[in-house]
């Protein structure tokens, strides 16, 4: 004879709807409750409902994105290189290395110009941050950070301080002092705190505010004196690798680029993302505004540089060549915005005609990746830093 199983039907008040029904035991968070059959069915359906919601949200987002692309395309009636046919072509281009700065014992990762048009600050993998008078090639200050891979450095507008950071997840400000008795590291101020590496930093219009970008996917605005977080910017889906402040009259926006292949334009006041562009096929290593502030260029691991117009709200030019297969690490415009200088991971610098979309020149010289590139404040030269431990000033 086999055992028989009995189903015991308990009648009582349902723990959810409180109606008098036949009850079934259910376990919610290790607690046993008694639900009626209706409530059990509803509970089971709810779980399903949440999954459906995620999927439906995803498809809604996707369809809206494609509609947005359609809207953007509607107003695109002409290409930049077509409009630029009227512009005179550029002649032969000769730029040479005019200064070579040797002194870093390891890969140079970042550099920035001082407003005096000749001093620069550079940082390297071994933690050294050096301030040079690049005209005379003299080193004026040197400080060793307590971390390696100092991927970001910036010169303060007044020329009296520098900021830097990297794998220490922080951005620190060092006032520059010529006092031989003072150790620069002693007056160091820790300003920004992120939860992952610091990839970029920049002072705003004064020495008292710093904007940072980090591998934790966020950008942030800080008060230097107190280290207080003034505003944070969330929206990137992966590491943020670069940022640039807009040269606008109102000084309110900046653009950032990240590993999620997106370039996003932010309102510094509200922390909101104003515009977003996603046409690159790989990480965006560098973003830089066009001198008028109406557009910006980006350089990416997909070996292309692209120009995005903010008023047209779309990508308007791609700078690429079949023979260029290594990623662009750093981009900057010449003063008039006619030339785009881009440093690549294949050790070269390519010079692009921004309007016509063609490559004007290729510059050889570095013996390893070009990691950073900035045009001087008065546009007389540009400086490139490389993993070959040197910086070069070209004019």
């Amino acid at each position: 004879m086999c055992d028989q199983t009995f189903l015991v039907n308990v009648f009582g008040s349902c723990d959810k709807c409180f109606k008098q029904r036949a009850l079934r035991p259910v376990f919610i968070r290790s607690q046993q409750l008694s639900y009626c059959a209706v409530c059990v069915a509803l509970m089971a359906a709810e779980g399903l409902h949440e999954n459906e919601t995620l999927a439906s949200l995803k498809s809604e987002a996707e369809s809206l994105k494609s509609k947005l692309e359609e809207e953007r395309a509607k107003l695109h009636d002409v290409e930049l290189h077509q409009v630029a046919e009227r512009v005179e072509a550029l002649g032969q281009f000769v730029m040479k290395t005019r200064r070579t700065l040797k002194g870093h014992g390891n890969k140079v990762l970042c550099m920035d110009w001082c407003k005096d048009k000749r001093r620069i600050v550079s940082s390297s993998q071994d933690g050294k941050v050096i301030v040079w008078d690049s005209f005379t090639t003299n080193k004026e200050h040197a400080v060793t950070m307590p971390c390696t891979w100092v991927m970001a450095c910036a010169y303060a507008p007044s020329g009296c301080a520098i900021a830097c950071g990297g794998l220490d997840n922080k951005c620190s400000v060092y006032p520059l002092t010529f006092d031989k008795n003072e150790n620069m590291a002693a007056k160091k101020k820790s300003v920004a705190m992120h939860t992952n590496y610091l990839s970029a930093c920049s002072f705003t219009n004064s020495d008292m505010q710093i904007l940072t970008a980090s591998g934790d996917g966020t950008c942030a605005l800080w008060d230097v004196e107190s280290g207080q977080l003034l505003q944070s910017f969330h929206g990137h889906g992966a590491d943020v690798l670069c940022l640039d402040l807009a040269p606008s009259e109102t000084g309110n926006t900046f653009v950032s680029g990240g590993c999620d292949k997106k370039a996003m334009v932010w309102d510094m006041r509200s922390g909101q993302c104003i515009q977003s562009f996603e046409t690159h096929e790989s990480d965006i290593n560098s973003v830089r505004y066009y001198p008028s502030g109406d557009a910006f260029a980006s350089g990416s691991d997909d070996a292309t540089c692209r120009l995005y117009d903010l008023r047209a709200d779309r990508e308007v030019a791609i700078y690429s060549k079949e023979s260029i297969i290594f990623g662009a690490s750093s981009v900057d415009f010449s003063l008039s915005g006619r030339l785009l200088f881009a440093g690549y991971n294949d050790y070269t610098i390519n010079v692009w005609d921004v309007l016509k979309g063609s490559r004007v020149s290729i510059l050889f010289g570095h013996e390893n990746r070009v990691s950073t590139l900035r045009v001087s404040p008065d546009g007389t030269a540009f400086c490139s830093g490389s993993w070959d431990h040197t910086l070069r000033v070209w004019a």
């Binding site: 995620l54 809206l64 947005l68 953007r72 107003l75 009636d77 002409v78 930049l80 409009v83 630029a84 550029l90 005019r98 200064r99 005096d116 000749r118 005209f135 005379t136 003299n138 007044s158 020329g159 009296c160 520059l176 002092t177 010529f178 705003t204 219009n205 004064s206 008292m208 591998g215 008060d223 107190s226 003034l230 889906g237 992966a238 590491d239 009259e249 590993c259 999620d260 006041r269 096929e281 990480d283 008028s292 070996a303 117009d309 008023r311 047209a312 709200d313 308007v316 023979s323 297969i325 010449s334 003063l335 006619r338 294949d346 050790y347 070269t348 309007l355 290729i362 540009f382 004019a395």
Partner: protein
């Protein structure tokens, strides 16, 4: 290869898109019709098939990409350095020579995207093979690695030696030609993956990036992420966009206006300091110089931002406003800028100072703002924050831009400046051009005392004399 390695290799390929692009080039080079000319290469007595010369490679790249020989050689060199092509003569040196040196394609088995990262075990076997074959054939750094590995994976050392012996035995059974080829292929692979100290390591990457491919747990793509995306898209749909034809025209106009001012494009007078080592250009364009250059004064007429952005232009504009009795507008704007970019702890103090000086009824330098903005600002002052003056500041900025600025450009002050502005003569070419001119250093901005820096406050004219200020180089 374990599955784990496969996955890592896969993600590596995605992380380095240059590898797939290089492979496409390699495949193109191997095309029987359009690829590089292949021939049999004689290496002493052995004949090795499917070899090509360095110059053929360079030539093919020139034809395929329409590039110069220099660029083609550079690109070819990178392909060789990544181990996709290896030299038959002098195989330890991964360099492309544009002559008749023979080269061969690496087998896909050893491609960087297939077999990376190189396994320690495989390297141990390789070194053991070399060691057994010819005693003491290991080069210094290889000897070090060998000893290191011997210690590290001592427990599997028997396996390593056994594998090495097996592979050598199997190799003996091959034809000499094949044996040489396989040896070269393997050597190339290890040259790329374990470069000798001091040599370029092409596979070196920076700190790991958490991009979409390496993040296995995609925490961000949850409901909030999509909700934000939807909200952003909805907002973006409604924004006003400008037609491309109009936007792009703006670039042409900007280019035309600024081209003569771009030192890299149009040169600069007297000369580019970086090229001639002569710093006259900098001293003539110092922030506060007595007589500005013509180009500089012309630039102030481009737009209001140019005028405001140049310290000298800013001062001249202030002088003009004083004549028009509206200097308080500029002073108010400056005070608001100081507030916006000032220290967090001083905000309440700054707001109050601005209010007292410019906005309070009966203030000494009262600015004329429309009533609505004034009301809103006064309301905001009750809870002061750094952006509380934004509306008022914008109102005054637009007032100056639309009203005072055009009048400034027509004023005598501006006209005189333009007339008296200098066009520097071009630096005469030096008689002895090979003698380098002495490069003068300049005082660091960090040496200047704060009061000598960009003057703050209302009267920017106060601190400045007619000559260059104390910190600047004397011309």
């Amino acid at each position: 290869m374990t599955i784990n390695t496969l996955h890592q290799a896969g993600s590596y390929k995605v992380q380095m898109p240059c590898l797939s692009k290089m492979e496409r080039v390699i495949v193109g080079m191997q095309d029987p019709d359009m690829g590089v000319k292949m021939r049999n290469q004689r290496l002493l007595i052995t004949v090795i098939p499917h070899a090509m010369t360095g110059s053929d490679i360079v030539e093919w790249l020139i034809q395929k990409f329409s590039i110069s020989e220099e660029e083609s050689l550079h690109l070819g060199n990178l392909i060789v350095k990544h181990g996709y092509i290896y030299p038959l003569k002098d195989p330890r040196c991964l360099v492309l020579r544009a002559d008749d040196s023979p080269y061969r394609f690496q087998t896909p088995y050893f491609w960087m995207s297939t077999k990376w990262p190189a396994a320690e075990l495989d390297y141990a076997i390789y070194l053991a093979k070399k060691n057994i074959q010819k005693q003491g054939d290991l080069i210094d750094h290889e000897k070090d690695y060998y000893n290191q590995l011997h210690k590290k994976i001592n427990h599997t050392w028997d396996f390593v030696v056994m594998q090495a012996r097996e592979q050598l035995r199997a190799a003996k059974q091959r034809r000499k030609g094949d044996r040489i080829v396989i040896e070269c292929q393997e050597q190339t692979y290890w040259l790329v993956n374990r470069p000798p100290p001091g040599a370029l390591n092409v596979m070196e990457q920076g700190p790991e990036r958490g991009n979409c491919y390496t993040t296995r747990v995609q925490m961000t793509k949850n409901m909030d992420f999509y909700k934000r995306e939807i909200e952003y898209c909805k907002k973006a749909m409604g924004r006003t966009r400008v037609k491309s034809s109009i936007c792009l025209e703006a670039y042409l106009k900007f280019n035309e206006q600024y081209m003569p001012h771009d030192p890299i494009m149009s040169g600069c007078l007297p000369s580019n300091p970086w090229i001639t080592d002569d710093t006259d250009y900098w001293s003539m364009n110092a922030p506060t110089v007595a007589i500005p250059t013509k180009l500089r004064v012309e630039r102030w007429a481009f737009n209001f931002r140019e005028l405001m952005g140049d310290p000298l232009g800013h001062i001249q504009f202030m002088e003009f406003l004083k004549k028009e009795f509206s200097a308080e507008n500029l002073s108010f704007w400056e005070a608001c800028e100081d507030l916006r970019y000032g220290e967090q702890s001083k905000i309440a103090e700054s707001v109050d100072a601005v209010y007292q000086q410019f906005l309070a009824p009966g203030a000494t330098r009262w600015v004329n703002i429309d009533s609505k903005t004034m009301e809103k600002t006064l309301e905001g002052i009750r809870r002061p924050h750094r952006y509380v003056m934004d509306d008022a500041q914008m109102h005054i900025y637009m007032l100056m831009k639309k009203d005072s600025y055009p009048r400034f450009l027509k004023s005598d002050i501006y006209k005189t400046l333009l007339a008296e502005a200098v066009i520097p003569p071009e630096t005469k070419k030096r008689v002895f051009p090979f003698m380098r001119k002495q490069r003068h250093s300049s005082p660091s901005p960090a040496l200047l005392l704060p009061s000598e820096q960009e003057p703050k406050g209302e009267d920017k004219g106060k601190n400045l004399t007619s000559g260059p200020s104390p910190g600047e180089e004397q011309s």
